[in-house]
């Protein structure tokens, strides 16, 4: 499902990804998989070459192994954050301890994937990061018969427009950017309200109900009881 969605992106997006991984087998595997999905990949087996590449080219995403020879992955994250604050970084590492994960995320990584992983998981996390990053905002997100123009904030179902009010649209946008992931009610409330605006979390249920009616079977919004909501292409 995620791969299918990624192919849909691939028709619209051409994303440059930099992969820094010292293990050749893993680097080749990730390279082939992401290339097969439609991304453009540059990969290097050490940190110095990676830093040079980052200096000379603008990438849409960095996939980084922390245990690189020469320069440690954490130092690369620090440097990247000094140069370009909004480059999404996906860390892949065999360091599985919580403090190591926290260190990676605190330093500036956007997501952390522990080895061993499945290549599909790498693809899914890559797509999720790209979706959430600001870089895609001038593109269109497609899911079943829905097309969402992120630049003009217009949602189409087939050939017709779907009429959503401001809050409904914001909730929809937040959910589709986190497709197949669970978003808590509090996150949604935080997203649709400003500081001087107050909203009861129970009101979110009303908006979701309206969204479900307006979107019909084009997309599925699952209520995760006690947690929040999850938007998915199909009912699981």
């Amino acid at each position: 499902m995620l791969i299918a969605l990624a192919y849909k992106y691939a028709k619209i997006l051409v994303m440059d990804i930099l992969l820094l991984e010292d293990n050749e087998t893993l680097a080749n595997g990730i390279y082939q998989k992401l290339k097969g999905v439609g991304f453009i990949i540059d990969f290097f087996l050490n940190g110095e070459d990676g830093l040079y590449a980052l200096e000379s080219k603008m990438y849409d995403l960095l996939i980084l192994d922390l245990g690189l020879p020469g320069i440690d992955g954490i130092d690369i994250i620090k440097k990247v954050r000094e140069w370009q604050n909004n480059l999404p970084i996906l860390v892949i590492s065999a360091r599985d301890r919580l403090d190591q994960r926290i260190l990676g995320l605190d330093t500036g990584a956007d997501d952390y994937l522990c080895k061993p992983f499945e290549l599909d998981e790498v693809v899914a996390r890559t797509q999720a990061l790209l979706r959430r990053s600001k870089r895609h905002l001038s593109y269109t997100l497609t899911c079943n018969d829905l097309n969402y123009d992120t630049k003009n904030r217009v949602l189409r179902k087939g050939n017709s427009f779907v009429d959503l009010n401001k809050r409904e649209l914001t909730i929809f946008e937040h959910l589709i950017l986190n497709l197949n992931a669970i978003v808590s009610k509090e996150d949604i409330v935080e997203h649709i309200t400003s500081l001087d605006d107050d909203l009861n979390p129970t009101a979110v249920e009303t908006y979701i109900s309206r969204l479900r009616k307006k979107l019909g079977s084009s997309i599925y919004i699952k209520n995760v009881r006690g947690v929040g909501y999850m938007m998915a292409e199909h009912e699981e």
Partner: protein
Amino acid sequence: MRSKTTSLKQNLIVWVIAPLSIFTLLLSLFLYFYLQNKVNDFFNKRLYAIAQSIEQSIGVKDEKLFVDFPSFSIDFLSSQDKGVVYYAVQDAHGVVLIGYKNLFKKPIPKAHNKVFYDTVYDGIALKAVSYKTSITSVGKVYNAYITVAESMEERDVNIKDMLSILIGILIFVALFIIAVTFVAVKRGLLPLHSLNAMIQKRDSRDLEPLRFDAPKELEEIVDSINVLLHRSRDTIEYMEHFNADVSHQLRTPIAELKVKLELLYDKNNEDYIALTKLLDNMTHIMEQLLLYAKTNANTINFKHFTMVNLNKFCKNYSKKTALRAYKKGFDYIFQDSDETIEINSDPILLESMLDNIINNALCYAVDDNKNPMGAITLSIQRHEQAIWLCVKDEGKGIDEQSIHHIFDRYYRVDSKKEGTGLGLNIVRQIAILHKAEVLVRNENGLKVAIIFEHQKDNHTI
């Protein structure tokens, strides 16, 4: 090794009081006999003085001895309030010149030396003195035998008085010694008690060095304890590094294998499915074994424990875990508590504990056709002073016999299912590290509750 532990305090008290008691007893016996002797000596001298007064009254008339001694003088000489004085003067032929006839049945010594002795007269116990005296008159020597005896009342009263005073002094001294011993021992052992209190007060998980202003004698003990604590910390850190190294070194080749398989085979290929399953199983076993080693109470590093907001933690955990439940066909519910609850916990261990319980539910809450049954519910409840973190499934539960064994190592309810048999054992280990209890019961499915003690001040460990 001694089978019975003895109290240092008791030992000290016994070793101080016992010799002192024996010494005091011997001293009192000595004093008793010494004083008794002195009293007797005094009274004997007085008795002898009476006898000498009588001796002064002996004279010779017509070649015969006579005694010119009025009887009231005896009373005057003895000047005693209590008791009776008896006397007798005999000549060499045994004729009683004055005094009580048949007073003395014993033969009177022939020597001039005075003899003191006990005797009985008229049923009364007496102390007597007898001696021989010689009077010369007109070139002729006349011998007389003087005996004076007195009853024992006054001696006894004096000895009793002295004994009473002596016993009084001894009791006072004994009590004083006991009191001083107790105080001295207590004060002497005070640093030991302080050290003991300090150790008792410490959490058994705290391996920081003891900071104790120890007296000289305890310094070495405190140093030794600190050396042991240091070694424990080293061991824990070594275990932690070893665990991390093993984990790190194994994860990369397994990841390589997985990637190779994914690239070589089609996803529906039987070999790919079988090999991937094997690899996943291997990864799971590796992770479970490492987690099992990591959660041992003796090698856990408690510095990772911190105050965790359980509500937020469970909500974030649910965001990840619900997807896993959905993928397996289960529904997922999170029931939060109305109040904010914080517990002292290592979040990664807490997550591993919940993972193990939920994996168990995902594996066993299925019907005969292996179809998932209902929902998995994670809930936080507060029951008085206890926090219940519950995972409940809607499966068939397990038979009562198995309930008692599910926490045993390598015990598996269904051996056909995949798993290491370590999962729930790890759950219990982690619960113990959190000073929590694990409760398992059938309740329209299986309910596993981790019961934490609610402490408002458990910020410190």
